[in-house]
């Protein structure tokens, strides 16, 4: 079996919103008194940095979950695990 993807894109147009998000989110991190490696921003990177001894996460959807849960954690909201069993008796 074979899959071919021909993604004809303009890299700078794809990068521009990432620059905006990273600038705003790093500023948020700073105002939230977070320091050092911001693993929750892995979502934006090809080769995410992680603490020594931790392997970086590359899966885009796990990265997105990490990102959103960090925002919830910052605001003291419940983290979302997508368990689902809590809705059934």
């Amino acid at each position: 079996m074979q899959i071919k993807v021909n993604f004809l894109c303009r890299d700078s147009i794809l990068a521009a919103p990432l620059v905006l998000d990273l600038a705003l989110l790093l500023d948020l991190a700073k105002r939230s008194n977070m320091s050092g490696i911001q693993e929750w921003l892995s979502f934006y990177f090809k080769s995410p940095m992680a603490a020594p001894g931790l392997s970086p996460e590359h899966d885009l959807f796990i990265q997105l979950m990490k990102f959103k849960n960090t925002l919830r954690w910052l605001k003291g909201e419940e983290l979302i695990t997508h368990l689902g069993i809590e809705y059934y008796d």
Partner: protein, 343 residues
């Protein structure tokens, strides 16, 4: 070197104190070419209501809060206090003296119709003189370059630039996002292991300290958050990471996930989820811009290749699934082909 991992207490459900996003936020960009000019033009257009910030989670994304039955999905920008687009000020450094209108025209990414209404604002944004070292980026050279007696002197010049920019533009806060070129391949050297060794290296002009590391050092020393958009080691060294903790600065990197790797980290988890085995993954990038020109150098390509190759192994876990992914032939090629920029 083994290091203790710091744990935040994530069980506490009380909100962390977040300072409000008051005043102006200066965004400084080392490297003001295609990415930087497209970014700035995009924000200026969005501010005028002439375009939407497509692809930006902070501007267009929503986040579910509470139970599914709550139906509470605020916009991310309404949920956490972020700087408003109208409060952003732009600046940076580049080896070419082109203002952001000229840079955007040369890059050929956005069309004239997009640039014309914001031309005056773009023309006002001009790069400061850059720190450049042809040992690290060999395929391009420019005239808008700093001279210094040592790498420490160059770092201090950058810190002066940052403070000057902050004052002139009346910024409350600054962040730095690297949008410059990929540097030649580099592994960690002794000079990268501690900030004391790094500072000595700056003074003694250590050949192991790259320009992007000088920017990162200057940022962290000034207490300014730093994001690394290229695969350069830059902030990915203990010296800068320790300094970031010491100065209470958030840092992140590396290498923006945009085209090919973005697709790869979407598709690979799908095959992996269904446990569909794999013989190989061949990827080719055809690039027609300055990025491609720089990556045409084998030393720069090696840095990029390493960044792009790391992705599949972590997702596919060949050590856990040797019979499915133990023998994946993963190759990445980059071809610099100038006509591609016309597409």
């Amino acid at each position: 070197m083994t290091k203790k991992i710091r744990f935040y207490d994530t069980t506490v459900s009380k909100p962390r104190p977040i300072k409000p996003a008051k005043g102006k936020l200066g965004i400084l960009l080392p490297g003001m070419g295609a990415v930087a000019s497209t970014f700035i033009a995009g924000v200026l257009s969005a501010r005028k209501g002439m375009g939407k910030p497509i692809g930006s989670l902070t501007q267009m994304g929503a986040i579910r809060i509470g139970k599914r039955t709550d139906h509470n999905n605020p916009k991310i920008k309404d949920f956490v206090p972020l700087a408003d687009l109208h409060d952003l000020v732009f600046g940076g450094w580049d080896i070419f003296p082109d203002n952001m209108y000229q840079a955007a025209c040369k890059a050929g990414v956005l069309e004239h119709g997009h640039l014309a209404p914001i031309r005056k604002e773009l023309e006002k944004i001009k790069p400061m003189k850059a720190v450049f070292d042809s040992n690290y980026v060999s395929r391009i050279s420019g005239t808008n370059v700093k001279k210094g007696s040592s790498k420490m002197d160059l770092a201090q010049q950058l810190m002066t630039d940052i403070q000057q920019f902050k004052k002139t533009n009346k910024c409350d806060r600054i962040v730095i996002v690297w949008c410059g070129s990929t540097e030649k391949y580099q592994t960690q050297a002794p000079v990268h292991q501690s900030w004391a060794a790094f500072e000595r290296g700056l003074q003694e002009n250590s050949p192991d300290i790259s320009p992007s590391q000088i920017y990162a050092y200057a940022a962290v020393k000034c207490g300014i958050p730093y994001a690394n958009g290229a695969p350069n080691l830059s902030v990915d060294i203990p010296a800068i990471q320790d300094l970031a903790i010491k100065h209470n600065v958030p840092i992140c990197g590396k290498d923006f996930k945009t085209g090919q790797t973005f697709m790869k980290t979407v598709l690979a988890p799908a095959f992996k989820a269904r446990l569909l085995g794999m013989h190989g993954w061949f990827s080719a990038n055809i690039l027609g811009n300055r990025d491609g020109e720089v990556l045409d150098d084998p030393e720069a390509f090696k840095t990029k290749e390493e960044s792009k190759l790391s992705v599949l192994d972590q997702i596919l876990q060949p050590d856990v699934y040797p019979e499915l992914y133990g023998n994946v032939d993963h190759r990445v090629r980059i071809v610099y082909y100038p006509p591609a920029r016309r597409q």
